[in-house]
Symmetry: C2
Subunit: 550 residues, 2 copies
Amino acid sequence: MEKLGANPANSCPLTPLGFLERAATVFGDCPSVVYGSAVFTWSQTHRRCLRLASALVSLGISRRDVVSVLLPNVPAMYEAHFGVPMSGAVLNTINTRLDARTVSVLLRHSGSRLVLVDPALVPLLDDALRLLPPGHPAPRVVLVEDPSEKDPTPAAALTYERLLEMGDPDFVWVRPTSEWDPMVLNYTSGTTSAPKGVVHCHRGIFLVTLDSLVDWAVPPRPTYLWTLPMFHANGWSFPWGMAAVGGTNVCLRRVDAASVYAAIAAHGVTHLCGAPVVLGMLADAPEDARRPLPGKVRILTAGAPPPADVLHRVEAIGFDVGHGYGLTETGGHVVSCAWKGEWDKLPASGRARLKARQGVRTPGMTEVDIVDGDTGRSVPRDGATMGEIVLRCGCIMLGYLNDGEATKAAVREDGWFYTGDVGVMHPDGYLEIRDRSKDVIISGGENISSVEVESVLYGHPAVNEAAVVARPDEFWGETPCAFVSLKDGAVTAADVMAWCRERMAGYMVPKTVVFRAELPKTSTGKIQKYVLRNLAKEMGPTRRGSSSKM
Amino acid sequence: MEKLGANPANSCPLTPLGFLERAATVFGDCPSVVYGSAVFTWSQTHRRCLRLASALVSLGISRRDVVSVLLPNVPAMYEAHFGVPMSGAVLNTINTRLDARTVSVLLRHSGSRLVLVDPALVPLLDDALRLLPPGHPAPRVVLVEDPSEKDPTPAAALTYERLLEMGDPDFVWVRPTSEWDPMVLNYTSGTTSAPKGVVHCHRGIFLVTLDSLVDWAVPPRPTYLWTLPMFHANGWSFPWGMAAVGGTNVCLRRVDAASVYAAIAAHGVTHLCGAPVVLGMLADAPEDARRPLPGKVRILTAGAPPPADVLHRVEAIGFDVGHGYGLTETGGHVVSCAWKGEWDKLPASGRARLKARQGVRTPGMTEVDIVDGDTGRSVPRDGATMGEIVLRCGCIMLGYLNDGEATKAAVREDGWFYTGDVGVMHPDGYLEIRDRSKDVIISGGENISSVEVESVLYGHPAVNEAAVVARPDEFWGETPCAFVSLKDGAVTAADVMAWCRERMAGYMVPKTVVFRAELPKTSTGKIQKYVLRNLAKEMGPTRRGSSSKM
């Protein structure tokens, strides 16, 4: 028994890239990618990806080089998920809504050698390139033509289709030498202001892709609508997952309610992923933007706890919503709200409340826990005691690029990845996120979950959006400060506070209520709490007993 | 990029054992195992498995010790798939239809420390233990009581339920120190007379389990009927798969048409696996043994190419048959006949012909090929040129226990596992097995696929079963010799030969036809060709131009 172990036939590196070859064999004539009037088959997509990989190699791209893309959800974006790593390079998908300064920082930090860019994003890229420090080697730029966009001033000497023509469709792709070889690089966007470069390897992506297919029980040949940007944590692994099951990828340049409803009806969409903001968009769509659903449409949502009210309304339309939890650092969802048959008997509000919980680990995940930040011990399963969510599994990132310190802070020697998210464990073993650890408000020594206060605010009939952050307080240290946008304007701060006072402990009630026409958001629809936190700081400390409004 | 790699949070060993803990959380109150009037929940099964692991450790069982089981598909058999490896031990499931001499050889070869045994198999085990060489330490015997079986003479001082009582239901189970740690040991049964001990590790079983769930698109909470013996390649990984999806395992002591139809109707079975012999049993069941199906019942078959006629009849009853291919050495199916929508339009015979092909690699499999045995090069994709099927993937066995030579012959330095199966690659990339390499008949330098001749024989309306082997020939070297059992007796050897002559090349037509009331079979329903091959040899060589019959 001692002598047996890894051998030449079983130690071939795990990688999701082989899914594409198989799709070309099994589903060769079936649609792979649909975009406007363009329809590709799996056989075509396979050959285009091999051409891309081959052309990149011929341009001098080699193992571990970074190739960046600045693209919406267009066919080239899908192809990059296979073609770039098939050249041995690391795929870096850049958030298209970043400013030029940040894009410039990312290009420099990643040492990107080549960028695929959309016509509409050429000005952004040009600005970013100009901001590179003198002497920094500029990445090569390849323009991805788009039928719906004017060709910009030819910033790019090379276009994507010309690049593909250079490539060999029978290229023998560059397999990883180890399953731990880096494959993708994603800078965390969002609620913090310091992007970090999350690196995943072939093994991690392979595991999270299969795990997500099992957990979401995706059948063969689904029709999948790309509402989630592929630049956002690689679309939660589904670019690779769709190749594994031979699905049809329906691409959309822009996501709005009318386009989504139209695409669902036109293509018979069966599956889509989206942040809760997408659910809200579907629920609130005006009558003339809606189309009847062609059948049950399954939505996987994650990224923020979906308000129960929105969940309820979206399901009433005919969507079947699954709720998961993951981070860029896990490559996809690793916790999901596995549904129990007996819950179907509950009233709608009860169902929505249960579905708003993040849930239990997915089958392929090793372990999840919620621990006390000081002692590292599991918190009691009481649905009340908050702690930090920690994870271990094969799909945890390799680390942050060139940031050993941040890597060490997140991936600790005790074998856990510390998410920075704060949650509670319910008695039934389902976890629920209460907050990002930095979003917890500590008032008089009591932890207040901003998410908990927000969910009460969302219940107010006049509230459109709500976010609660800490405001300094002379006596309590911090007090909750609510930023609110309204559906209509006939509500005062005192009304909002009264609403809260009836529904939560006094110390949790926002002492400040600020009305805004709109709340600042990241490109993926998350409210930018750090912006609001800064605003709250600038207001100066509240004083004992005082309430303020703006 | 160079500095990033495996870290404490992402290098936790892959293992399927964690599926059970998750099932206990998510599906705690749902049925896990049903056997007669006994119904267990996932919470109970979880605690019973921990008790088993704990009790084994308390008996002195430690890492890499072998624990054998000699059990039909009863709850203890299911529990052993988790409880035994959760003690750190390696689970060895013994084919219950072996003779005492072989069981004795396996117990000795594996160095088994403990055996769980069914009451009906106590005499077999007693005989096997008596055949152990003097001085060989006998394994400890634990009797698994069964309500439907009389307690035999107490060969066992300890019973399974008493063993569980000794164990701690909150035991902290023994996690593998590496994902390459051995977990299960299965002796290959069947068509060859030399059993070899196939060892799989935690990683391999984890991968094949998830892969099989994706490939067969198993939804959450299926009701799974155990017609396939769990001792047969661990039931193709589904003991672990059912925990991953929270399915209900319906156990049957004995598999016959009436019990299977009754169980399907009583429990609302949705999924089952079985060798083609099970399909035949369902298709040929007498009217009074049948029950209407409660809905679509999905069958996964493998182990031998299912005759097209049987496939057709089973589907007419309402079963939805998937066809896969795997070996004990792959831990489950790694090739499957992925179905294409356009094939639905073909006539039934055409559909069955396509479905009888083994197909394409499953999504999680790395590569499959068919190579020329001499040159190692891929055979052309012409559906005619035969070669050996070779595989590489994460679920290839670690090797054969204490048999470095056989391991080296199967797992070669070129990175492939050589299956010993002979097949052809069709132009569409789907492979089809023609034979075990030793079953190929070489007549005048031409390779004859015994499977191909058999499929023509199965098409004869009077033929019940058919097997074709090589018989020595003075001139040709070998000629095909057919062993046939009939539905009725009004057919002569000359009739059979004439039937073949109209449907195949002359050199492929059996020169000998032997009628038997029944053909010799292994416990899993495979015809024992080596027995027939010996019979054919004993007949002595055929002479040029002669035909013989018996």
